[in-house]
Symmetry: C2
Subunit: 348 residues, 2 copies
Amino acid sequence: MSGKEKVTIYDISKKLNISAATVSRALNQNPKISEKTRELVAKTALEMNYKQNRLAQALKSGKTNNVGVIVPYINRSFFSSVIRGIEEELTPHGYHVIICQSHEEVKNEINQLNALLNTQIDGIFMSVSKTTQNTDHIKKALEEHTPLVFFDRKIEMSGVSSVVLDDFKAGYMATEHLIMEGCKKIAHLSGDINLEIYKNRFEGYRSALEKHGLTYHPEHVIQTNSKIESGQQAVAQLWECEEKPDAIFSAGDYAALGAIQELKSRNIRIPEDVCVVGFSNEPFTKYMELPITSMDQTPLLMGKIAAQVFLEQVKGNKTLTIEKKVVLSPELFVRSSSGRSILQPAEN
Amino acid sequence: MSGKEKVTIYDISKKLNISAATVSRALNQNPKISEKTRELVAKTALEMNYKQNRLAQALKSGKTNNVGVIVPYINRSFFSSVIRGIEEELTPHGYHVIICQSHEEVKNEINQLNALLNTQIDGIFMSVSKTTQNTDHIKKALEEHTPLVFFDRKIEMSGVSSVVLDDFKAGYMATEHLIMEGCKKIAHLSGDINLEIYKNRFEGYRSALEKHGLTYHPEHVIQTNSKIESGQQAVAQLWECEEKPDAIFSAGDYAALGAIQELKSRNIRIPEDVCVVGFSNEPFTKYMELPITSMDQTPLLMGKIAAQVFLEQVKGNKTLTIEKKVVLSPELFVRSSSGRSILQPAEN
DNA sequence: CAAAGAGTTGTAATCGATTGCGTTAATGTA
DNA sequence: TACATTAACGCAATCGATTACAACTCTTTG
């Protein structure tokens, strides 16, 4: 009953006394095969529990139907949602997704990238790590002619498609929202300025201040990482300034949370005294007793679009490289941490 | 400069006027190759930007160095942490992890499982979906002799290893903790009893009640899913009972959160009037203003151990099937939602 | 000086599926 | 009846790497 080795088309061909070529064609619905043979093969294959060896097929065809995704961390809501979007879009097309984490280290990023290329995947989606300065590994990958799509954190490169958020607009919107709530001294918890996204959020912030005639205080901009502690420290530092802020726009939700905790411990009321806006719309932001206003990056959509861009690329003419740059619009979810005007936070 | 096709060992062999076999051996550190040739090949391979075609190698060797993981959802902290554990343990051994989601649907589970088997992965890690009753697809997979390791949600099957939490103990510990805090009427928000884990948590709960001489009220046990709303509804239902509970042990963090929200809206004080304990130690539980006591399932460890079990299996003698059942101990993180006796919740 | 041994490298089969080209048999046409 | 056409299928090469089994060149030894 057991002890069965893998069944190949040769096993089927022997059993039916036909050639392996015929079996292959029959299984692939080749029209040159008679109906009888086709059915017979199908039936026998089922009986013998035949499973196609996709390695062999991939070797022959050059297509593995696997794509790779490289993200800094898999356990960030944003990234896992993007991945889900990619999956949802690609699964119906028979693709499978291989997920890799760089842990924000270029070194890992390089390893993962090479490993994926060795595995002959059909495409790569990636969000570069914070520490990625040198891009030789990516250029090398491009030479292999493997479709590459950047999402969220991209690197400017000709011939490479990308799907990103309009981070400038996001920064602008968040800041403007705070201004509309009556805030005049808005601080900004920035991320690593090496990353374009954080730079853009900051620029959006500055631009909004300017547009509304508010002065920009460099000491009100503090670089943080995505840890709660860094949000706490930032507030501590801000409250030593001459001019205490009456609002905080954080480029990350975790830093925003830390900021809120620190503000509360200082008995500063939110949103009455200080409004806070976060970024990423992490699930926890809406679960809090004081739900946090946050900027949604529409990660699911981002993943889906990235997948679509990839599909276009592989369906289309392989010889010409398509370069498609998609920019998504952010969506602000106003909640109690900044919503002075709203009474009851809606269910979002 | 560009337009380069993939470089194979044949390209190297032609360039050096040696056979492909020699190139292969040189690259694989075969001792039968002279030092000179080895170095020459290595140098040339680097120059030509040779990358091994792992498909071909896998086809020949029967090993892909890929393993598959099937989980209900990727964006649950628990699952993503387990995956991370698996990755951390397996990456140094050259394995790559392919992640699949079942979305709690057997149908998807079957598809993903077959897709993985077709791709010839070297092993499978899985946590079955809620709707998995019939296990034919898993039995069929076992016939392929692909190592399979269950984690968290297992199915009883001879010859299959598993790494799970001691859910009975977890239920017992959580309940006993509540009893120690002085609670006498402890309700339980259960999960889908079809799943062993929820059954065991419930049994642990009952056992603790019994052990401490508390009567078990069937109407104090309510089945929930892992949604916030179901926790809210559960409280609404509980508070219509004759005997209102003075504690809630939820088998999931989201239901616990919903319960807390509902309790607060009813102006019931936590933990003074009602203590609440959740399950899974989702990150948000400790971020809340009222941090939630929760049972940690040591997911990282679970993943690592599952990976180790797999490694043992593939390293060892292939002919004999090893069956290893690992049971991990849960860890309770007591926080303000149940910690009447603690003053300041520690940083955990 | 011939035979044996050690050290290197080559030949060719193999993994499993695909596919261009050729072959056979059946049918159609003049 | 002779030839052309078509349908159905087989042969063998191919994808790229691995490896058992030679084969070859030196060196060593009796």
